[in-house]
């Protein structure tokens, strides 16, 4: 299965992401520059983390209006799997692909540490290799990860099962409402999450808990058929 990584100036975790995608899929992901108008055919499209345009305006706001985004929105609507991590999550919310917004961390500081994530659903293309209710370790590294949605939206996404990942065991490091760490779009093919599963894929990184998320992405037709 093929994957693609969207690149905006100022993103900086694209190499970490490429490693995770390559290890899980066996293929090198295509790197797509933001000025392109079309993303090459891919089963999985990822917007990685970093500081697009320095985050000098609202995080992700400028990137969300880049030329490549029109095609990303089109492909998301067509059902292609889209994952946004950290700044990528912020960009996807700014682009209107996901509900809610990411605000400054409640503690007002950048925070890099390990958190624990509870998997709310295992019946998604992002979490098929986890069990429902399972808690796994993943690092975070962000200054603006405080997820917020108005009460109506919150009730809707909670009711529709769009909250996929939650900070568990008191590890909500940024003040996110309902401990939300990752949300799906209504169709379930777009996931945005603040933590970095791509930095927990190797025993040398302290664990492999994050790798199953990438294995889930490429679980493929064989698994679906089984």
């Amino acid at each position: 299965m093929k994957s693609a990584i969207i690149l905006f100036p100022g993103l900086n975790r694209e190499r970490d992401m490429a490693t995770a995608l390559r290890r899980a899929s066996g293929h090198e992901p295509a790197m797509v520059w933001h000025t392109e108008s079309e993303i090459p055919a891919a089963d999985v499209i990822v917007v990685p983390g970093g500081f697009s345009y320095g985050d000098y305006l609202r995080c992700g706001a400028i990137a969300a209006r880049s030329p490549i985004m029109a095609d990303l929105v089109r492909k998301a609507a067509a059902g292609v799997t889209v994952l946004g991590v950290c700044n990528g999550f912020q960009i996807l919310t700014e682009a209107g692909l996901l509900p809610g917004a990411l605000m400054r961390n409640a503690g007002l500081k950048f925070v890099c540490r390990e958190v624990r994530l509870q998997v709310e659903r295992a019946d998604t293309r992002f979490t098929s290799r986890y069990a429902k209710g399972e808690v796994f370790r993943t690092p975070v590294a962000h200054g603006d990860g405080n997820y917020f949605a108005d009460p109506e939206t919150l009730a809707r996404i909670e009711g529709e099962g769009q909250v996929l990942l939650r900070y568990a065991d008191g590890t909500n490091c940024n003040g996110s409402v309902n401990d939300i760490a990752g949300v799906l779009n209504p169709a379930g093919n777009v996931l945005g999450m603040m933590p970095h599963p791509e930095n927990m894929i190797d025993p040398l990184q302290g664990g492999t808990d994050g790798f199953r998320l990438f294995q889930s992405l490429f679980a493929g037709d064989a698994e679906k058929a089984a």
Binding site: P9, G10, N12, R13, R15, D16, T19, W33, G50, F51, Y53, G54, D55, Y56, K109, F110, V111, C112, R113, P139, A141, G143, H196, E198, N199, I201, D202, L204, Q205, G206
Partner: protein
């Protein structure tokens, strides 16, 4: 606007930090009165920060070569061979004065500057560290400075995308008016693709790259070479403003540019910006440089030649371009949204010629600007050393209570509050995270080779005895690298001292450099880059002598490194490198300072022969997989070492009653010691090997349980130790909000 023809008065000369005799030297050199732009250029090139005029004589005595050294001091950064056609490129540099004036931007641009030094040479940065010294925690400015500096380092490094993996934070009242912010960066390059600043070829385009030039930082390097007084707040405009987004783009653009073959020489614009970079490129290549300032991209209007030549706007580079590749080069910079402007050319007349609005505003001999800088053999006196403690002077305290005090003290408490604000995981290669002896970073994803990084200095030892303190700083870095199993390769030194015009301060500098040199020679641990920061004084009071040392070690296989955490119950605990009575040097110890409020006694002696013998022995054991945990003894002595090993693992230990006064054994800061653990079954064999190697190795206890028991002292729950250890920093910083 200052006209270029303004008359040069003695006041103007003094305002540029030049002494009357230095100005006379300028007159002799050019045979006429300089223009104001020329005066600015001389002040930029001849200030202490750029010319090393007080320190050069002594820096020349340091060992700078070795079988793996590709490039020693004198370039943007040092370069050391790490095998497989790869090299590590690294340097540490101070940004002390700007960080005191404007902590966020001062620290941020310190990080930006050191990263540029590394990628200017063609290396992609893989790790950063920093060594920070703040004033007394109770001083009214300290919280604000800690908060701003840490946020600034994080703000720049996190956005740029380099993991900040280690460093030090200390507090002492002697830094109340003059904090130290020393930033380190390391990158990886291919040994045959390293880029230098030496220009080659006449008539080639000189190209300006990166961000636009503004008025920020004008006179910064001169400011950094002066003492502070109450007017310091007025100097805020001399602090530059960092833009990590542009730097990240500049990194990617420069690496693409270098790969394209367009670069003949390249130099980042750091201190004194356009002036230093252009003179350096020309003087090193025996070429003149002609610059037309009308072509320099500016972000402010009506900038004068003087301002443009002295601007320290960040994220800029200067390069000599292969003209055949100009289109390719320009396209790369267009892609990254950065400026690319041909601003001059190399010439064969050895002149540094500056044009503005079609007029010559400076015309100076380029070699002399660098080579003829004043060089001083400043008078110095042997620093006074405090008397050693009397033999019976062993102030008593409850061992358990004293340990709790120490691990919760400002200098020994957990630095988690600091390093959690730094992205220490980006790039996915961080194998040992902050908080251990040294950080370990994998070089390439999927390959076993790694590098270890550590930064150390103990300023209170340096104040008591600069020579032993200099030795100790190098030895401790070497020891920390050794703990992980790394082969120590080389160091970068960041020498922070007071006013060198005072013989006692110069004496501290001279003796510390001699100590560093002696340790480097004994440990085959050369200096490959560095930086000198003098005039760290406020109202005439100097900082403690602080020669910060950062070292790099090579780890052949990152899966075979050791960590400080105990790894299991019922394992033997051994003390390596110690005398038969475990230790006992209480002079200048943190125990004396934190428990008894005393800062006296002599600094501990470093026996470099024993240091090397013990370290080589420990490293071999780590690489053979014989040890289950390794940690060196440093600040706070054996008790703190054991507590750190326990806290990192949650596993307790029972330590035997020492053969001497337990205060000496547990809190003495004797050098060259390691605590190691290993399975009971392996003890006899390792003991025998130690005996053969002539290394002291003592059985001192056993791991296990949930408490640390030090001899006859009351047991301390590891959880209580950890709670105390973690408490100080966040509680202290919360008081600011």
């Amino acid at each position: 606007m200052i006209p270029n023809e303004i008359a040069i008065t003695p006041e103007l000369v003094a305002d540029h930090g030049l002494k009357p005799e230095e100005y006379q030297k300028i007159l002799d050199l050019i045979g006429r009165e300089p223009s104001i732009t020329e005066l600015g250029i001389f002040s930029a090139m001849w200030n202490e920060h750029c010319s090393y005029k007080s320190s050069k004589k002594w820096l020349k005595t340091l060992p700078i070569s070795g079988p793996r050294v590709i490039q020693g001091p004198g370039e943007n950064a040092g370069v050391v061979d790490i095998g497989d056609g790869q090299a590590v490129v690294f340097k540490m540099e101070s940004h002390n004065h700007p960080s005191y004036i404007e902590p966020y931007q001062g620290a941020a641009t310190g990080v930006g500057g050191i990263l540029r030094d590394v990628f200017t040479m063609g290396a992609r940065p893989i790790a950063a560290m920093n060594a920070l010294r703040f004033g007394d925690p109770e001083h009214p400015k300290t919280r604000h400075l800690v908060s701003g500096v840490v946020a600034g380092i994080g703000g720049y490094g996190n956005s740029f995308g380099v993991p900040t993996v280690g460093g030090e934070v200390n507090f002492h009242r002697r830094y109340n008016g003059n904090i130290l912010v020393n930033a380190f960066a390391a990158g990886i390059a291919e040994t045959d693709k390293i880029f230098y600043s030496k220009a080659e070829g006449v008539g080639l385009p000189v190209v300006y790259l990166g961000a636009k030039t503004g008025r920020d930082g004008v006179g910064g390097a001169t400011m950094a070479s002066a003492e502070f007084d109450e007017k310091i707040e007025e100097k805020r405009p001399t602090v530059q403003v960092g833009d990590p987004f542009t730097e990240k783009c500049l990194l990617e653009a420069c690496l693409e540019l270098m790969a394209s073959g367009a670069v003949i020489a390249i130099q980042d614009m750091g201190a004194a910006g356009l002036t230093c970079s252009a003179v350096e490129m020309g003087a090193k290549g025996d070429l003149g440089i002609r610059l037309d300032l009308d072509r320099v991209p500016c972000r402010e209007e009506a900038m004068t030649a003087y301002e443009m030549m002295l601007s320290e706007s960040q994220e800029r580079m200067l390069m000599v371009l292969d003209p055949a590749k100009e289109d390719v080069a320009r396209a790369i910079f267009d892609k990254w949204g950065l400026d690319f402007a041909v601003v001059g050319e190399t010439t064969d007349d050895l002149r540094f010629l500056i044009l503005r609005h079609g007029e010559t505003v400076a015309d100076l001999p380029i070699k002399e600007l660098g080579d003829e800088a004043p060089e001083y053999d400043r008078p110095w006196i042997e620093p006074a050393r405090p008397a050693p403690l009397a033999e019976n002077d062993i102030p008593q305290a409850d061992i358990a209570e004293a340990l709790m005090t120490l691990i919760g003290s400002p200098d020994l408490s957990s630095r988690r509050w600091v390093w959690e604000q730094y992205d220490h995981l980006i790039l996915g290669n961080t194998v040992q995270r902050p908080g251990g002896d040294a950080a370990v970073v994998r070089v390439d994803e999927g390959k076993p080779k790694g590098l270890a990084f550590a930064a150390d200095v103990t300023p209170r030892y340096c104040l008591a005895d600069p020579f032993e303190g200099g030795k100790q700083a190098v030895a401790e870095v070497w020891r920390n690298l050794t703990c992980t199993g790394a082969e120590p390769l080389a160091i970068t030194d960041n020498l922070n001292f007071g006013n060198p015009e005072k013989p006692e301060i110069m004496g501290q500098f001279v003796r510390a450099v001699q100590g560093i040199g002696e340790a480097c020679k004994a440990l085959d641990f050369p200096v490959v880059s560095g930086n000198v920061s003098l005039y760290n004084e406020t109202h005439g009071e100097a900082i403690m002598p602080t020669p910060a040392i950062a070292g790099v070690g090579l780890v052949p296989d990152v899966t075979k490194t050791a960590r400080a955490a105990f790894s299991g119950n019922d394992e033997a605990i051994l003390l390596a490198g110690a005398p038969a009575d475990w230790g006992g040097h209480l002079g200048q110890s943190l125990y004396l300072r934190e428990v008894h409020g005393r800062e006296d006694g002599s600094a501990p002696h470093v026996d470099l022969t024993a240091e090397r013998r013990t370290g080589d022995f420990i490293r071999a054991l780590v690489r053979d997989g014989k040890l289950t945990a390794v940690h060196d003894c440093s600040d706070g002595g054996l008790a703190v070492t054991l507590a750190e090993m326990a806290m990192a693992s949650g596993i307790g230990a029972k330590i035997e009653t020492p053969p001497v006064d337990p205060v000496c054994a547990f809190f003495g800061e004797d050098q060259g010691r390691y605590v190691v653990t290993l399975p009971e079954s392996a003890v006899a064999g390792v003991m025998a090997a130690a005996k053969d190697a002539g290394v002291a190795l003592l059985r001192i206890g056993t791991t296990g349980g949930d408490a640390l028991e030090l001899g006859a002292a009351g047991p301390l729950k590891v959880a209580s130790l950890a709670a105390r250890h973690e408490a100080w920093f966040p509680a202290y910083m919360r008081a600011v909000q």
